[in-house]
Symmetry: C2
Subunit: 192 residues, 2 copies
Amino acid sequence: MSVQERKQRERAERERLIVATARELAEQQGWDAVTTRRLAERIEYSQPVLYSHFRGKREIIGAVALQGAAELATAVRTATSAADGTRARVAALARAYLDFAVRNPAVYDALFQLDGGLAYAQEDTPEPLKDAFAALLETLDEVTGEGVDPGLFTEVFWAALHGLATLTRAGRLLPEDAGPRVELLVDRLAVT
Amino acid sequence: MSVQERKQRERAERERLIVATARELAEQQGWDAVTTRRLAERIEYSQPVLYSHFRGKREIIGAVALQGAAELATAVRTATSAADGTRARVAALARAYLDFAVRNPAVYDALFQLDGGLAYAQEDTPEPLKDAFAALLETLDEVTGEGVDPGLFTEVFWAALHGLATLTRAGRLLPEDAGPRVELLVDRLAVT
DNA sequence: GAAGCGATCCTAGCACTGCTAGACAATCGA
DNA sequence: TCGATTGTCTAGCAGTGCTAGGATCGCTTC
């Protein structure tokens, strides 16, 4: 049995290598540069090997997205837990979220921009995605305000952050005023 | 000279046909289905003809985007001018914007999601894009609040709308609660 | 230790993409 | 009517995601 176990281990290791390499390549040169040929070459296997691990490129993007969701949740929780006071916590959340988008553009794309074949806002939504949303909700729950559903409020707040992140990165908004924009958003949306 | 004029007219007409066909095809089957071959076939010319009008596919997307920007501006202005009262005007703006995104997904993508080779938030930004932003600013100026730059406020409000539009359309938010989300956004962001 | 068998991987190829060079034909001015 | 110019098309390039089929390797059994 140990032979099979070793093989399984090696297979899992190679799968990790594929995802890590795809992510690395995407962060370096954008997702357009992540072709199956280039990816195969980098992991030093032939193209079809990729398809023995994933159904296709889409699923590879999905794998990167799940990894990113977990990291995003961690980043948000770390930032909020280090902040004192309600207002500061929400501001920290917003900054951490936008910071993540700036620092990991390819991962952010995989999560929210590209089609990774993942289910969102449904029962069969993968746990990391649900948890990332939960990480936002934990802090935003405090500032939802009376008579408003915390889930709904979180969605709106998240959408605003997402809008800022994507429009800035696509050159639709100049990055210079990013700071004041976040301050304005927090001051207005959050009830403290 | 009239011969040349006729030719110019015919050329311009064909260019309109290309843009209109690209838009139609994109709305029907998504931008992925808009290949240069399919597009050429639909306008009943060969592929290279496209390249005598546009540098490439990107520029065709850009042309659709400019068309969309003008329509978006009109839609927003029509909606706001029909509303009575500040609060109602802002709500009408938000609904008109989101409605435009839902009704013209491909055009919305061309404007804010895809690369149409256009300059945004700069001096050489095409007029229709500037004007679409101006259409938002005209109404949002009223509810900016003291001590806040109207341009900055418009950017934030716009980003929030953009976030709602894209996340909803990408399946990240369920469309059911679209109404309450807009109400919440307007109530919180706008100072009335 | 050898033989057979199954899992694993690669070569080669399909149908498609955006884009372009060069041949060809139609139209214009002289 | 002739030459030149403009316009259009055919054919092809390099690249894409993905897959069928054969070859090779390593494990298991005798």
